[in-house]
């Protein structure tokens, strides 16, 4: 009976249904057949046979039941377990026989799968599931965006009044909580140590939905007036400071001079606000003082009601903010808009493009790996032609052969995946070490986990299909007779699967070039960033914040009463060249202030960055003066209203005019807890620009004024020394304690390290990973080119022998093999160049301003690198071919 295409499809679907359908159909048939046998037997008994004879006769007439059952199973099922086991055993045996092939294939796949697993772990833990909190996807915060400015507005902190207004008047949040920075001095024996605290409003822990690891979290009762003061500690801090000693639980600690009981240790992944300790605090209406004498600011976090979109929330928040702006216009820009951001937006935004670029790169790498293995399989399949033909002749169906080869591929892929997981596990540690720490949410733990392993599993199945299917189909398509007749040595270049292998190599080269160009561009970009002149000399500078206890340091006189003796003490430390006060840790330019300039009128708002300093500032950082002079020690001591501005300030607001004698009005100083009255400052100096807006941002106008004009600001100490900066830390701490034992160093660091971490770590991370993966790609491609050529020349030994016997020179043979190889490489290069140019726009965002995606130097460099490596990969098989002894080659016949 003719079984055409459609009936075959129908049979396939029936089998597919049989795969999931009830198993009872087999027993139905058994019952039917039993009944049939019984009926036959009855007939034989009826014609006078004995029951035994009748049973035997019935069985004879019915036929072999076992055989029938097998036939039926074959009809009904796609794959039987026994077949799979048989295929598996066969695959292992056959792979074990060609060890070199197996090793290269598994290593190649392991590299590809390992790299993609590692990167996917990072992406999963940093981008996809960074926060362990309840409904983290609905946790959002409002941000006031000044529509007059291009960049997204800065303000995301709210006064107590604003916080209470948002919390009570909104219609879009299930719950609203606030967190506020709180530098906590923890009294530890003779001195004090700095802890980074977060004040959290009632309901904060219910909001996060995480129970404590030990003890308990804050409860509503802890917020009641008169409740015993308590706090909760983060796991990391507990491990680092108390070695994970459970005995500290329920102990009393002196925090900022007040006794508090430690009631709970949070689980390791709780890291909200990146704080060490969490302190209950209820916002009350009215002005309040927070960190460094600045008005208290609450970072507001709301959980969107189910089904409420960010746009709806923004509309609602806009209404509230506009109401607040009417009451307190000075707290809001003239024109603004409220943006709603999710917590994920804050931390990962910078890292996201880098990570996805790298993931794409790793995907390409995996493709190259698949290409290589496919090629190796094709080559192997070609030399196994006879084996397959024999199997086919002996009755193996096409599907059966394909399945056999796919099982082999699957064994390779699974082994590769196992190796890959091992590699990823090791590699993750180095990736995490290279990652820019500030960009990773404190909550995310980068590790292999269930989703990542599932990803790896899916990847390995996919790779099996990619590299296994083509060779399997090719092998199974063969004509039965052909290979059996063929002696296995093609004459005159005729091996049939050649074109497919060539295509794969060309594609590999193209992909690898794309990767290399990407890596090259990122490297160029990184170098370009390194060459950006910061405008200051960052080496040998130690800096630290010195948060002064708010109760004893309120006025300018109190603050300078601390800093003047401290600066004298620090300058006396051996090796210290100079020291200065500063209201900001570098590299950031301090706060922003609205300004006016005497004798100038303007329509739009004028802004400048504002920083308070002492006279040593420009000497410590070696910032050169363009005109005028620095403050003198006396001017600082007398808190004279003088200002130094940067060149951009002059070119933005006083272009072509004499800045000296002009006075600048600094609005920001009027609203401090210790306000400056009549904040008009006379310009006495102009300094060269210093990067104050990131490496790629335009320098902002900046103003420096004496720190002695106000008692409320952030206070930091910057020290230039001869020795390595961090070696100073102990001496500086002693100097601080000698001045006031109740003050601790906060965020002490070496300026150079901090710059490298804040400005270069991101680009360096991207370029490092891309370079590593680019090099891996190059190695894989080299293996690919080599293996294809080696295989081709080995198959052609006979032909080469004939040619040489007929008078071909060794050089001719060498040339022809290298030419064949280079033809593949150059075709791949051409395609790779085109693809890179097309993809250029995708990578543009990652690059420094003056590096273009078609940067000729990068293109030329990577192209020649690839061609040179390709030539090397051709050279070895070519030389082997040229060494062929015609006599030996022909004797094989």
């Amino acid at each position: 009976m003719g079984y055409g295409q459609i009936p075959r499809l129908r049979a396939f679907t029936a089998k597919l249904a049989g795969l999931f359908g009830p198993r009872r159909r087999d027993s139905d048939f058994d019952d039917e057949m039993q009944a049939h046998l019984q009926l036959l037997m009855d007939r034989f008994v009826a014609i006078g046979m004995s029951p035994e004879d009748a049973a035997a006769a019935a069985r004879r007439q019915f036929g072999n039941t076992t055989l029938l059952q097998e036939d039926r199973r074959e009809l009904r099922t796609l794959v039987s377990v026994e077949d799979i086991v048989r295929d598996l055993r066969y695959a292992l045996r056959s792979l074990g026989r060609s060890r070199a092939f197996t090793a290269v294939a598994i290593a190649t796949l392991g590299l590809g799968i390992g790299a993609s697993t590692a990167i996917f772990s990072v992406i999963d833990n940093v981008l996809l599931e960074p926060f362990p909190y309840k409904d983290a996807g609905r946790m959002v915060f409002p941000r006031i965006h000044d529509t007059a400015r291009a960049e997204e507005g800065e303000r995301q902190g709210y006064t107590s009044n604003e916080f209470l207004e948002f919390a009570s008047q909104n219609h879009v949040f299930d719950a609203v909580i606030g967190s506020s920075d709180d530098l906590v001095l923890y009294k530890n024996g003779e001195g004090v140590e700095q802890l980074y605290g977060a004040d959290v409003t009632p309901g904060a822990f219910e909001f996060f939905g995480m129970p404590a690891l030990y003890g308990r979290v804050m409860q509503p009762a802890d917020y009641q007036p008169g409740a015993p003061p308590v706090f909760v500690m983060r796991h990391k801090t507990w491990m680092a400071r108390f070695n994970g000693d459970p005995g500290v639980l329920n102990k009393i600690f002196v925090l900022n001079g007040a006794a508090r009981m430690l009631i709970g240790i949070m689980p390791p992944r709780f890291g909200w606000f990146d704080a060490d300790v969490y302190i209950p605090e209820t916002p009350v209406p009215g002005p309040s003082t927070g960190f460094a004498g600045l008005p208290a600011r609450w970072f507001l976090l709301g959980r969107l009601k189910p089904g409420v979109s960010k746009a709806q929330a923004a509309a609602d928040a806009n209404v509230i903010a506009n109401h607040l702006a009417k009451i307190n216009p000075q707290n809001f820009p003239a024109h603004f808009q409220v943006l709603i951001k999710t917590v994920g937006d804050t931390v990962v935004a910078q890292l996201e493009p880098t990570l996805y670029t790298v993931l794409a790169a790793v995907g390409l790498l995996l493709l190259i790996a698949c290409g290589n293995v496919a090629n190796l399989m094709l080559a192997r399949a070609t030399s196994r032609e006879k084996e397959f033909a024999l199997r086919a002749v002996l009755g193996a169906g096409r599907a059966r052969l394909v399945r056999l080869l796919l099982v082999e591929s699957l064994v390779l892929a699974i082994s590769g995946a196992a190796l890959g997981v091992l590699l990823a596990w090791g590699g993750l540690k180095s990736i995490v070490a290279a990652m820019p720490q500030d960009m990773i949410p404190a909550e995310s733990v980068i590790a292999l986990n269930a989703p990542v392993l599932a990803f790896t599993f899916v990847v390995s199945i996919l790779t099996t299909l990619i590299f296994g299917l083509a060779p399997a189909l090719q092998a199974a398509r063969r004509d039965l007779n052909d290979p059996l007749r063929d002696s296995g040595k093609a004459v005159l270049g005729g091996f049939r699967t050649g074109r497919m292998r060539d295509t794969i190599v060309v594609m590999e080269v193209a992909v690898s070039l794309t990767l290399l160009i990407g890596a090259g561009l990122l490297m160029r970009s990184f170098v370009a960033l390194r060459e950006v002149h910061l405008g200051l000399q960052a080496d040998h500078v130690f800096q630290t914040l010195l948060p002064l206890p708010a109760d004893r340091y309120k006025t300018a006189a109190q603050v300078s009463g601390f800093f003047q003796p401290l600066l004298a003490r620090v300058k006396a430390i051996p090796g210290v060249l100079d020291a200065t006060e500063s209201s900001a840790l570098l590299p950031s330019g301090g706060g922003d202030s609205k300004i006016e300039i005497s004798g100038k009128s303007h329509d739009n708002e004028w802004h400048a960055m504002l920083q308070n300093i002492s006279e040593g500032y420009f000497r410590v950082l070696r910032i050169p003066f363009k005109a005028g002079r620095a403050f003198t020690e006396t001017e600082i001591h007398d808190a004279r209203k003088l200002a130094v501005v940067n060149e951009t300030f002059v070119s933005s607001y006083l272009r072509g005019e004499d800045p000296f004698g002009r006075r600048v009005y600094l609005a920001g100083l009027e609203t401090l807890a210790d306000p400056v009255r009549e904040p008009w400052f006379e310009i006495v100096g102009v300094v060269a620009d210093v990067t104050n807006n990131g490496l790629q941002g335009a320098v902002q106008p900046q103003v420096w004024v004496p720190y002695t004009v106000t008692g409320s600001e952030v206070q930091a100490l910057l020290v230039r020394s001869q020795q390595t900066p961090m070696a100073l830390m102990n001496d500086v701490r002693q100097a601080v304690w000698a001045t006031d034992p109740g003050v601790a160093l906060a965020f002490p660091n070496a300026l150079e390290d901090r710059i490298s971490q804040q400005l270069y770590a991101g680009p360096r991370f991207g370029f490092l990973l891309m370079t590593i993966f680019g090099c891996l790609g190059l190695v894989l491609v080299t293996i690919g080119v080599y293996s294809v050529l080696a295989y081709a020349t080995a198959r052609k030994t006979h032909e080469i022998g004939i040619r040489m016997a007929l008078g071909a020179e060794r050089a001719d043979v060498l040339r022809s093999v290298i030419k064949a190889g280079l033809r593949l490489v150059t075709s791949g290069v051409a395609i790779g160049l085109i693809v890179s140019l097309l993809l250029g726009r995708a990578i543009q965002a990652e690059l420094a301003h003056d590096v273009k995606p078609y940067d000729p130097l990068t293109l030329a460099g990577t192209t020649s690198l690839l061609i040179a490596t390709g030539a090397l990969a051709c050279w070895i098989p070519a030389r082997r071919a040229a060494r062929v002894d015609p006599m030996v080659a022909l004797r094989y016949e």
């Binding site: 003719g2 129908r10 049979a11 057949m33 049939h36 019915f62 036929g63 072999n64 036939d71 009904r76």
Partner: protein, 115 residues
């Protein structure tokens, strides 16, 4: 040995015979089909009756026949098979094929014999 004179049933022809049987007699159970083929072939064909069931499964998968539980003449529960519309179409097609091929084969065999 009378068995030696019986022909083995050709694969595929059994499918055709079952279709024809169901077409001619209406719904039948497996035993009934086997009896009918035995009867019609007048003991010329040797039928391993178990293969009927393999054939039935194959026909079921192609949806050329359908199966239904019912009660046989002697009150046993049995599965009854009936030909579907699709099966009727296939039967017509296959019958035509068969007649053409068997005609050709017959002619060729006669030629052989006349030589």
């Amino acid at each position: 040995m009378t068995d030696a004179k019986k022909s083995e049933v050709l694969q595929g022809t059994l499918d055709l015979m079952i279709l024809k049987t169901l077409h001619a007699l209406g719904p039948q159970h497996g035993f009934g089909i086997a009896r009918r083929i035995e009867q019609v072939s007048r003991d010329v064909l040797h039928l391993n009756e178990g293969t009927v069931y393999t054939s039935l499964l194959r026909l079921l998968q192609q949806k050329w026949i359908a199966a239904e539980w019912g009660t046989s003449d002697n009150n046993r529960k049995a599965k009854f098979y009936s030909i579907t519309a699709r099966g009727e179409k296939q039967l017509a097609l296959e019958t035509e094929n068969w007649e053409r091929i068997s005609g050709v084969v017959g002619r060729v065999l006669r030629l052989e014999g006349e030589r």
